[in-house]
């Protein structure tokens, strides 16, 4: 759907983006992760046409997007910026009507009522909570029934309930149509199970891109094993060491270690033979945070 080809962007002597190539596939949720100042926001602005790349191309459905094409492309985009407070003196409905006219939207999109009830829409935005403002922000992004939804730190400042509500709504929107979503966030645990693929941006470079499984494999990240034990067990420690486990330590009643992916079965088999010496055992894949630091 959207493809970035060798995008570079410099602001004076500062290189914000360095030959970033990235493909956003139709219908997927692409997570954009990276530390503050990594170039994520600049990359989003290039995708929105607000920032012109110093070099490289933005392609839509295989065609290079020229300056005049942006106006048309933006009709297909919904953008939810991280920080927007809207106009305190307008009601939610007036705000949505303003942006509907700007986006040349005639019909009312039904999902808007689900995001922001009629009652909340009739209130002045000045009296909105942070969560309501984020809902209004999402509603304006969805006004034009977009093909591509770009979310920049969408849950920033929300409490856990607000975060859950937000992703429930996003799931609902996704279930109604084949929406493509770009989700930029630095809260890795939060988006881990929401994304189909992840692009890790650092120092303006695209360090890695792929599904989490592809990244685990590509980065050769070890699995995490946790063995519940009542007291220190040197026999198990030695066993783990023999099977190539690393970073072996005790933590809150567990013997934990990093296990090379290729040793998984052999190690499990060896440990299970000593099952009388421990109460429980779990083995898990690395999480997005570990992928993130693995890339770094």
């Amino acid at each position: 759907m959207l493809k970035l080809n060798n995008i570079s962007k410099s602001f004076g002597s500062i290189k914000a983006l360095d030959s970033v190539s990235l493909e956003v596939r139709e219908g997927e949720v692409l997570g954009l992760v990276g530390p503050n100042g990594s170039g994520k926001s600049t990359l989003l602005k290039v995708m929105l046409g607000i920032t012109k790349p110093s070099s490289g191309d933005v392609l839509i459905n295989g065609k290079v997007l020229q300056e005049k094409g942006w106006k048309h492309f933006r009709k297909q985009i919904g953008y939810m910026p991280e920080r927007v407070s809207f106009y305190d003196n307008l009601t939610g409905r007036e705000t949505l009507n303003l942006f509907a006219k700007i986006k040349s939207v005639n019909g009312k999109y039904e999902i808007i009522k689900r995001i922001l009830s009629e009652d909340i829409q009739s209130r002045k935005v000045g009296g909105y909570s942070k969560g309501m403002r984020q809902r209004l922000n999402l509603a304006q992004a969805l006004l034009n029934d977009p093909e591509l939804l770009i979310l920049d730190e969408p849950t920033s400042g929300l409490d856990p309930m607000g975060i859950k509500e937000f992703y429930d709504i996003l799931d609902e929107v996704k279930s109604r149509k084949n929406l493509t979503v770009i989700l930029s966030s630095h809260i890795l645990a939060e988006i881990e199970d929401k994304v189909d693929r992840v692009a890790v941006i650092k120092n303006g470079e695209n360090k890695a891109v792929g599904s989490l499984e592809e990244l685990y494999t590509g980065l050769k990240l070890p699995l995490k094993i946790s063995i519940a034990i009542s007291e220190a067990n040197t026999m198990l420690e030695e066993l783990l060491q023999e099977e190539g486990a690393e970073d072996i330590r005790y933590s809150k009643g567990y013997l934990v270690a990093s296990v090379p992916r290729q040793s998984k079965l052999k190690l499990l088999s060896a440990v299970l033979q000593k099952q009388n010496s421990f109460a429980d055992l779990s083995i898990r894949e690395p999480n997005l945070e570990e992928v993130f630091f693995g890339v770094h």
């Binding site: 046409g49 607000i50 303003l98 006219k101």
Partner: protein
């Protein structure tokens, strides 16, 4: 160009000024101001009472040149900073409207707000004055209102440029105040200084040309021509107006003043926010 988008933005700006009673407060201010000027304008001669419209226009012109520019400059001065601080500027930039549509919408909304308050304020006071002094010079008074609206639009256009040129509100305020001082006071002081330094040798033509570079002086001359009573004018506008300086030429200059800063705002905006 999407007229709907321009109208939506303009409507929002006008609606904001109506809801906040800005339009009404300014209109009432203009009405009271005109009536007071007209009634007490004859105090120096020992009597108080409403004067004819020509004399009122002359007095108003000398004072409106201070009020309307500062109103217009402050009205438009924060327009971009407000959107940027609210985060809505980014939403406008990535929506399917052009920079022109955005700027024109904002400009149209504020221009109508300013024009409405000027029309209401001077209109109501004009009706009261007509009932007291008769209908003579009504046309001149109407033209004075139109000129005053034009003056407001010119300074609104300048305020847009200042608003886009500077990011910090403190700088916008400082430059706004300086611009106001420059156009309403310093420029004419400079001209007087030039006359003194050159001992009047610069010639009337060059002097007139220098005058029309300042929109405030153009406004003065336009009103001066419209009521054709140089005796009632004070200051630089009472100098002899060259024959080539017709109303059309002066309107043309005013329109250039109203347009150029707006075009410059558009170019600057694109360079600054779409780089």
């Amino acid at each position: 160009m999407s007229t709907d988008a321009i109208l939506a933005i303009a409507h929002k700006e006008l609606s904001d000024r109506l809801k906040s009673r800005w339009v009404m407060v300014i209109a009432i201010g203009f009405t009271l101001f005109t009536l007071i000027i007209s009634y007490f304008g004859t105090i120096p001669s020992g009597v108080a009472g409403f004067r004819d419209l020509d004399a009122t226009i002359a007095s108003l012109t000398s004072l409106v040149i201070y009020f309307i520019p500062i109103l217009a400059l402050t009205l438009g001065g924060g327009i971009i900073a407000d959107e940027r601080d609210k985060g809505t500027l980014e939403l406008f930039l990535c929506s399917p409207i052009s920079v022109w549509e955005f700027i024109l919408g904002k400009f149209a909304g504020l221009s109508v707000s300013l024009a409405l308050s000027t029309l209401l304020g001077f209109g109501v006071s004009g009706i009261i004055l007509i009932t007291k002094t008769g209908t003579e010079s009504v046309a001149g008074y109407l033209i004075f209102i139109i000129h005053s609206i034009l003056l407001g639009i010119i300074f609104l256009s300048i305020s847009f440029f200042i608003s886009i040129l500077f990011d910090e509100r403190s700088r916008v305020i400082a430059v706004t105040v300086f611009s106001w001082l420059f156009f309403t006071l310093l420029y004419d002081l400079g001209l007087v200084g030039l006359l003194i330094v050159t001992k009047g040798s610069i010639g009337a033509d060059i002097f007139s040309l220098l005058m029309i570079l300042n929109p405030v002086d153009v406004y003065r001359i336009l009103n001066f021509i419209s009521i054709d009573q140089s005796a009632v004018f004070l200051g630089l506008a009472s100098v002899e107006v060259p024959s080539y300086m017709t109303t059309s030429i002066l309107w043309g200059i005013s329109l250039i003043w109203g347009t150029l800063p707006l075009v410059a705002s558009y170019i600057l905006f694109k360079r600054k926010y779409l780089k």
